[in-house]
Amino acid sequence: MTVISVTLHNEPFNPLALLAGWEASLPGLTGELPAALASFVGRVRGRSTCGAPLAALELEHYPGMTEAQIRRCAHQAGLSHQALALRVAHRVGRAAPGEALVLVAAAADRRGPAQRACSELLETLKHEAPFWKKEWRADGTAIWLQGNTSL
């Protein structure tokens, strides 16, 4: 059974501080400090998808459904790859370039399962968790992104 933790953040969050706190909590949750920890941090880019300077990225979500969908994605990734524990933190609201958008972390007994669970969870939440991104450009114009950036 994978231990799953999901949080949404309406203000800037420090992903590596969250990661360190979560890892330190694992012995109490899974019985020991797992041998393998894979993680990913995504941040707001300084440029829009069309290359113009970006003023901010606005993240809309569907309160309730978004958290539930992330948990479903995590549950599935945990089952598929025998992860011991999974952690997702995601920003919502208006975020400035350089600020953290997402943290995904997977703890497992071996490096392969940890890396695969982290990677799969990152992909599935991008496609299955309801978030919408609006790019605010430096000139005051804004556009809604239609779907995800390429790998």
Partner: protein, 81 residues
């Protein structure tokens, strides 16, 4: 039959509202509900493939039979992470 209808992203902005209680007596499925809403948006009545439907906060088929009090959401393409 009352339905709680929710819109997100560019759909929400184009409609000018995020959430409404609507009478669903003549819209027993999300697909028919969309056709009724589309007029207001100035869109064709056919639900575009890119719009996903959620009923009671779970993804659902556009042909799902709706019940009184259901929450129906229309979701433009997701871009998370």
């Amino acid at each position: 039959m009352k339905l709680r209808v929710r819109l997100f992203g560019d759909l929400r902005e184009r409609a000018g509202w995020a959430e409404r209680w609507l009478d669903g007596s003549s819209s027993p499925t999300p697909r028919q509900l969309w056709a009724a809403l589309a007029t207001d948006l100035g869109d064709p009545p056919t639900l575009p493939g890119r719009i996903r439907v959620a009923v009671n906060q779970q993804f659902a088929e556009p042909s799902t039979a709706l019940s009184d009090g259901d929450e129906v959401a229309f979701l433009p393409p997701i871009s998370g992470g």
